[in-house]
């Protein structure tokens, strides 16, 4: 006979341990346990059977995996925690005796030093593992880099976070690893791809963060401690991987003047000297000899701009030193992969890696020189522009150190990013503004020159900041006229939403996405509720007023679908003309859609119509109304109504079919299916809701125009 098994000796009862038990086992305090768990990445588990895991008792508790706790027992940090505790006792004893000096000395000399290096290695055995887990780390560190220092957040921590974040940004700028960015109401999202890992993080806008009482900064501090160590190592590795020295040289003075990114100077490790030189060009600021700089820098910039691709040229030379006879056609060839288009139908289409090469990211803004106006957020714009190849970013000296030029009227500037409403010419006291500006010029003549607010330099493209983000997400320069100052911007869309079946895509015209009969059904609905709605006209009026305040043109469709690139300097008039043309085309398309729908609507079910008429007659008889009146009123409706009925019937049939199918399924499968259907339906409902809203909006707009 087998040995009788005792309860609570094996299985779940043994595998899980409650938090209290864990703390007792480790003989540390609860806060220490918390810290240890955060550092080691140990999290509670959900046992499959809680009652078994809790050995019969039912109150809700957190469970940890016993092996995890067992493994914490050997943690070197535990000793440090204990030393720390002992030191705390010593210090409190000294303070109790009034020996303040002793206490201070104890604190200074005997505080145990903790490093989390071994934990990083343990949690992330390979570098790619570390990169995979960098999302939270970056979001947290960027938040802390923007926090004010308080008692709970020491300034040292903040400085460290700032340094690490800027170093990471420098790496992204150098390698052009940034892929996408998005302006949300929460902050700015960025996505970079490093060694095949997509890293997404969120940077808050530069405002003072609201801190509510229920935020425990000790916990966040523990996380930040871990994340700073992690990012430090990651930065070291990243810098080394591209042959840069780590840490980069930090100029405290420049940082004091708000240099931020430009306070760092990247240094190569011998081999990468030319690259460094290129990188350093935008870093120099023209404070010393501005008039000279503007010309020399311009020359340099021009030269750089005309050079095709310094790296590529180098690489080609290195690869093939002996006599090469490049034909003219060869000049166009690059290292990049060509796109292959199948010439016939029956071929297999082979997937090719698309817009992933950093070369494309590096060339997006390569030929532009950008001036950031005072009111624009400099940090994100500078980072984004530089990461996408813009080597010359300049801004108003008010925004800080490190600008490419301080002269706003520098002729080399091709784009100016403006975020202020255009003042009507009458509103601007031109006479007053002009002398002011000249006075300013006189005051610090060579240093920096700012133009008066309304002044436009001819030949320069003025755009709103959203242009930069949309260009980055689309991978090409967009038409700047849509983003002109004061213009109503096209909607800013998230680059991470993938168009799929049943997902609403705001960039596509409504007709493409609608299910059949949806529009008719909606129209019918509206007709029906029209009478009821008349009472609520006021409501509608309010809404329409809101919409009037921010009139929207659905012009991004031509924009998004245009395959050819629009040159940066292209005139705005031409562009405007084009849009109007395209709008016409759109209208035509809509007309066609209407024609298509008509035959479908004509296709009626006679019997059904007959039945309905009969029903109506009966109703009229009951109400005592002449039949003709009703017939007249229902006449225009009948077509749409029948279309709806038809759709209803079809839907019903489908449902029945489904019902029958489900009868055949096992219960388990049916449940699974229901779940799947629930998820899908939810998605579809959401899309439907959005479509309905848009339809309404478009209708309202059309009505307004008419």
């Amino acid at each position: 006979m087998a040995r009788i098994k005792k309860k609570g000796q094996a299985g779940q009862a043994k595998n899980f341990i409650t938090r209290t038990q864990a703390v007792r086992k480790l003989q540390i305090s609860l806060p220490d346990f918390r810290r240890l768990c955060i550092f080691k990445g140990i999290y509670p588990r959900e046992p499959r059977n809680k009652k078994k895991a809790a050995k019969g008792s039912t109150p809700s508790t957190t469970f940890y995996y016993t092996r995890d706790i067992q493994y914490l027992l050997h943690e070197p940090l535990l000793r440090k925690f204990r030393e720390h505790k002992a030191l705390g006792k010593k210090i409190s004893k000294a303070l109790g005796r009034g020996e303040v000096k002793d206490a201070a000395r104890l604190e200074k000399t005997q505080t145990p030093r903790m490093t989390l290096d071994h934990i990083i290695k343990e949690r992330y055995p390979t570098f790619v593992d570390a990169l995979r887990d960098l999302d939270d780390a970056l979001s947290m560190l960027f938040l802390f880099a923007n926090l004010p220092s308080t008692a709970t957040v020491p300034p040292k921590t903040i400085a460290l976070c700032q340094r690490l974040c800027l170093e990471f940004e420098h790496y992204l700028i150098t390698t052009h690893a940034l892929r996408k960015s998005f302006l949300s109401i929460k902050g700015i999202y960025y996505q970079a791809t490093i060694q095949g890992q997509d890293i997404l993080w969120l940077v808050p806008y530069k405002f003072v963060q609201r801190v509510t009482g229920d935020v425990d900064f000790r916990i966040m501090g523990t996380f930040v401690e871990f994340y700073t160590t992690l990012l430090g190592f990651v930065n070291f590795r990243l810098y080394n991987s591209i042959g840069l020295l780590y840490p980069p040289k930090f100029d405290a003075e420049s940082d004091e003047r708000g240099g931020e990114l430009s306070a760092f100077t990247l240094e190569g490790r011998g081999l990468e000297e030319p690259q460094k030189a290129i990188e350093d060009v935008p870093m120099t600021n023209g404070t010393a000899e501005a008039p000279a700089t503007s010309t020399t820098a311009q020359d340099l910039a021009d030269k750089l701009a005309t050079l095709p691709q310094p790296e590529d040229a180098e690489a080609a030379e290195a690869a093939d030193p002996p006599a090469i006879t490049p034909t003219p056609a060869d000049d166009l060839t690059t290292e990049a992969i060509d796109t292959f288009e199948p010439t016939a139908d029956d071929a297999d289409i082979l997937p090719q890696p698309l817009f992933n090469s950093s070369a494309e990211a590096a060339s997006l803004f390569a030929n532009t020189t950008v001036w950031l106006s005072r009111e624009t957020p400099r940090q994100p714009l500078e980072f984004l522009l530089k990461a996408f190849g813009c080597k010359r970013v300049a801004w108003d000296p008010v925004l800080g150190d490190g600008s490419y030029t301080a002269d706003e009227s520098d002729p080399s500037i091709t784009h100016q990013i403006v975020d202020r409403p255009p003042l009507s010419q009458s509103g601007v006291p031109a006479a007053a503004a002009q002398p002011e500006a000249t006075e300013a010029e006189v005051a610090d003549a060579p240093k920096s020159r700012t133009l008066p607010p309304g002044h436009r330099v001819p030949g320069r493209v003025y755009v709103q900041p959203q242009w930069v983000w949309d260009c980055v997400n689309q991978g090409r320069l967009l038409r700047p006229d849509l983003y002109a100052p004061g213009a109503t911007l096209p909607p800013h869309l998230s680059p991470w939403v993938k168009a799929g079946k049943g997902v609403y895509d705001p960039a596509k015209p409504l007709e493409e996405q609608e299910e059949e009969d949806e529009a008719e059904a909606a129209a019918e609905d509206e007709d029906e509720v029209e009478g009821a709605d008349e009472g609520a006209v006021d409501n509608e009026g309010e809404e329409s007023e809101e919409e009037e305040a921010a009139p929207r043109r659905r012009t991004e469709n031509p924009l998004l679908d245009r395959p050819e690139e629009v040159e940066a300097g292209e005139g705005m008039d031409v562009a405007a003309a084009e849009t109007s043309d395209e709008e016409d085309e759109d209208e035509e398309e809509e007309e066609w859609g209407g024609l298509d729908d008509e035959p479908a609507a004509e296709d009626l079910d006679e019997a059904e119509a007959e039945r309905l008429r009969h029903q109506r007659e009966l109703e009229a008889e009951a109400a005592g109304v002449p039949l003709a009146a009703i017939a007249n009123s229902s006449a225009p409706k009948s077509k749409a109504a029948e279309a709806r009925q038809k759709a209803d019937r079809r839907r019903k049939e489908q449902d029945e079919e489904l019902e029958r199918g489900m009868m055949m399924m096992s219960r388990k499968k049916r449940k699974l299916f229901e779940k799947m259907r629930y998820g899908n339906e939810k998605k579809e409902d959401e899309a439907k809701r959005l479509r309905a809203k848009r339809r309404k909006l478009e209708k309202g707009k059309g009505g307004g125009v008419a």
Binding site: G232, R237, P351
Partner: protein, 802 residues
């Protein structure tokens, strides 16, 4: 009593000295006395005098003691034990005295004699008893030894009672720790200390044993003493001792294990001090010496020579937060623990989180109210979409810190459970493409153009060492170029009218042999190369080896079945050509279009599409022999190739590719690429994959393990595909050449794993050749090691792509 006393005294004295030595001393002194020098004797006297005195003193002492005992005895104090003991002793003594009173006397004298030899001899002389006379009878015999000197042979000394050796064990077996059973077959059971056999004691008869068992003698144990072989008998006292030992008691009678403590220093304080000296001053005055030493230390501390506390270790002035080493320098991937659930990543933002979303994403009144009325935890979004028409109007997000804090809490407090997702994203099933960096290197640009041919270049090949390029063209010449520079090294013209259709190098670097086909003739050429005479010689040897074979075996070959018509004629091409390095000329029946070598360079196959039964020929180089393996072929042969590792031969006709096992001479497989007219094909170096180019613009990838139908059909060319080639040097690349004047480079990675299909990624279109008369690029070949390829164009040029 005095006599008794004397005997006791004697006993005491004798005990101090071992008897044997006594005897020998006696004898030695007696005999060797004369030999010893006088002076020595004198010294000995002195010594012994002293000893004697000592002995006398001892004697006296002992006598005193004895006296005391005697007194005790006489006083008749009733201490039974002592009395009995003493009485026993006395009894023993008496018996001894009775037995040999004189002997005992003599012993004493002898003993004394040992100490005082002369006196002893004198004494001996005086006390001449009969026993002594017997004793004095010389116990030796004198013989002569080898040198003629007298030699004394002493008799055995019998230690009798007179030897006074009462303590010595009677007989001790000296055989040691071995079992007695070893002696079972001998009459003795061992040896005593003198080497004499200890005889086995007589065993009693069975009756005796019976009797013994009936009347148990006192102290009978039933055991046998292994040392003596006699029955072991134990006395009562001995038994008592054993008993006590077994009980863990002290075996000695009357031993007190817990005696009363004797206090060496009394615990009582004496009223009167032992010393009347006053307390010394040093007991209450601080030590000056110590004060001096303390002052020294104080001074040192003041001067900073000594630190009162250990200073904190000199931290490097660098910031410890800056990492200065690569943590992942020796990274080794470690599989995740089965129970580990990585933290889920936050989902990316959607459209309605935008600062400026499309209007349909903005909540209307009802939605806004619903959102505001729901509990904060129940909301499906933590924010409400808002529209800002300019970036400057975007306020700070007031819940930012809170959200991040909650994420932190989630990370360390929330239990993680792995849930299987029901709706699988179909995109996750798509194959993962290699990154562009992984695909590198591949040829991207033209680096060298080889000009010189008049008319089209039909074929080209890079030699196995990768230094030279051979081309053959419509002008009937074969040219050799330096690959890196494009310089023409050598050229030969076979005939005026016929184009060189194909050139192929023999694999292997030990010889430098080129096969070229012009019309019906195949020429084997060893082009002269500068600086390598040994290679040239070896290639000549390889080509010439067959002449001899043909000469010797030619006769026998002719009377075989190959009588009707030889498949091919192997001849010398003539002196002009031989001068140029053309060594062998093979003439077949019809125009040769394709040559392919076997990997070892011993065989090569030729294809002449118009040749009907002789379309495919396999030539053996070392024998100068040509075979026609196929009597009839279905369709027109297009190309033929040997398998890179197995004895398999692939033949392409217009529509199909057949593979034959050469060893077993049977058809293995028929591949149906689905092309209308196959132009060329190539086998992957691994041998399991095949690419086929066709005139109807298709490039087909066949996986031989998968199916007879193509794994992928690629149609990227606008015109016919003329040639396809795999890279043979380990890079996962292949190229095709088309009549539209372009080459296309593909990445084609084959994994050894059978479960995984080949990955094919289009990489590059190489343009440069001009299209002449509807013909673009006619042939392509890869460098044996580098990711370089060469192409032959209809425009009369060849190009190297790097």
């Amino acid at each position: 009593m005095s006599q008794l006393n004397g005997s006791r005294k004697r006993k005491l004295v004798t005990r101090a000295l071992p008897d044997v030595r006594d005897d020998s001393d006696e004898l030695g002194d007696a005999l060797l006395g004369g030999i010893l020098s006088q002076s020595d004797d004198g010294e000995e006297f002195d010594d012994s005098d002293d000893e004697e005195e000592d002995g006398e003193e001892e004697d006296e002492g002992s006598e005193d003691e004895m006296d005391g005992e005697e007194e005790l005895e006489s006083d008749e104090i009733p201490s039974e034990y002592g009395e009995e003991d003493i009485r026993e002793q006395i009894r023993n003594l008496k018996t001894a005295d009775v037995e040999s009173p004189k002997g005992a006397n003599g012993r004493l004298v002898k003993v004394n004699g040992a100490e005082l030899p002369q006196a002893a001899t004198g004494a001996l002389g005086e006390t001449n008893t009969q026993d002594d006379i017997e004793d004095l009878k010389p116990n030796y015999t004198v013989t002569t030894d080898a040198n003629g000197n007298p030699r004394y042979l002493y008799q055995e000394i019998e230690p009798g009672y007179e030897s006074d050796d009462s303590d010595a064990p009677a007989t001790v077996n000296t055989i040691g720790e071995i079992p007695l059973s070893f002696y079972d077959s001998y009459p003795h059971i061992g040896y005593d200390i003198n080497g004499k056999k200890i005889m086995r004691p007589a065993k009693g008869e069975a009756l005796d044993a019976l009797l013994d068992s009936i009347e148990v003698p006192q102290g009978w144990t039933g055991l046998t003493d292994p040392a003596t072989g006699k029955p072991l008998e134990l006395s009562r006292e001995e038994l008592e001792v054993l008993k006590k030992l077994t009980r863990n008691e002290v075996p000695e009678e009357g031993y007190d294990p817990y005696p009363d403590m004797v206090e060496y220093f009394t615990s009582k304080t004496e009223i009167m001090p032992l010393s009347a000296a006053p307390e010394p001053k040093r007991r209450f005055v601080p030590s000056k010496h110590e004060a001096k030493r303390v002052m020294k230390i104080v001074k040192a501390i003041k001067e900073g020579r000594i630190k009162p506390y250990r200073p904190p270790e000199e931290t490097e002035d660098e910031d410890p937060k800056v990492k200065r080493y690569d943590l992942w320098a020796d990274e080794a991937p470690r599989p995740d623990h089965v129970m580990h659930v990585p933290a889920p990543k936050l989902p990316p933002p959607v459209h309605d989180e935008s600062y400026h979303p499309p209007p349909e994403y903005l909540p209307d009144k009802a939605e806004r109210a619903a959102w505001e009325n729901t509990d904060e935890e129940d909301r499906d979004r933590e924010y409400l979409s808002r529209d800002h028409d300019a970036l400057r109007k975007v306020p700070g997000y007031d819940k930012f810190v809170k959200e991040k804090f909650e994420r932190c809490l989630d990370l360390y407090l929330a239990p993680r459970v792995r849930r299987s997702k029901l709706n699988i994203d179909p995109e996750s099933l798509l194959p993962k493409l290699p990154s562009p960096d992984e695909l590198r290197p591949f040829p991207t640009a033209c680096s060298v153009v080889f000009r010189g041919h008049e008319g089209r270049v039909r074929s080209l090949a890079i030699d196995p060492s990768g230094e030279y390029l051979a081309t053959g063209g419509d002008d009937g010449t074969v040219r050799l170029w330096q690959l890196r520079t494009g310089r023409q090294n050598w050229s030969v013209k076979f005939s005026g009218d016929e184009a060189v259709n194909v050139v192929r190098w023999r694999p292997g670097t030990e010889a430098f042999i080129l096969a070229a086909a012009s019309g019906e003739n195949i020429f084997l050429v060893s082009p002269p190369i500068a600086g390598k005479p040994d290679v040239e010689r070896s290639s000549r040897d390889v080509l010439d080896a067959g002449w001899g074979y043909a000469a010797t075996n030619g006769a026998s070959a002719t009377n075989g079945p190959a009588k009707k018509e030889a498949a091919a004629k192997w001849t010398r091409p003539g002196p002009q050509l031989e001068e140029k390095g053309v060594l062998v000329k093979i003439t077949v029946r019809s125009t040769v279009k394709v040559i392919n070598w076997h990997r070892r360079g011993e065989y090569f196959s030729t294809v002449s599409p118009q040749g009907q039964s002789s379309a495919i020929a396999i030539h053996t180089l070392s024998k100068h022999l040509t075979q026609l393996p196929f009597r009839r072929l279905k369709g027109l042969a297009q190309s033929a190739q040997f398998h890179p590792s197995k004895p398999i031969f692939f033949v392409a006709t217009q529509r199909t590719i057949r593979s034959y096992d050469l060893a077993r001479r049977e058809l293995l497989k028929i591949l149906q690429p689905g092309a209308k007219w196959i132009s060329s094909f190539d086998i992957h170096p691994g041998g399991d994959n095949l690419i086929v180019g066709s005139y109807d613009r298709r490039l087909l990838w066949h996986d031989l393990d998968l199916s007879t139908r193509p794994y992928k059909t690629l149609r990227y060319h606008k015109k016919a595909i003329r040639a396809v080639r795999f890279h043979q040097g380990g890079l996962p690349l292949f190229a095709d050449a088309s009549d539209d004047g372009s080459l296309q480079i593909f990445h084609g990675k084959v994994v050894g794993d059978l479960m995984e299909n080949a990955t094919i990624v289009p990489l590059k279109v190489l343009r440069g050749h001009q299209v002449r008369k509807e013909l673009g690029v006619l042939d392509v070949d890869w460098h044996p090691k580098q990711p370089w390829c060469v192409s032959a164009g209809a425009d009369g040029t060849c190009r190297l792509w790097q």
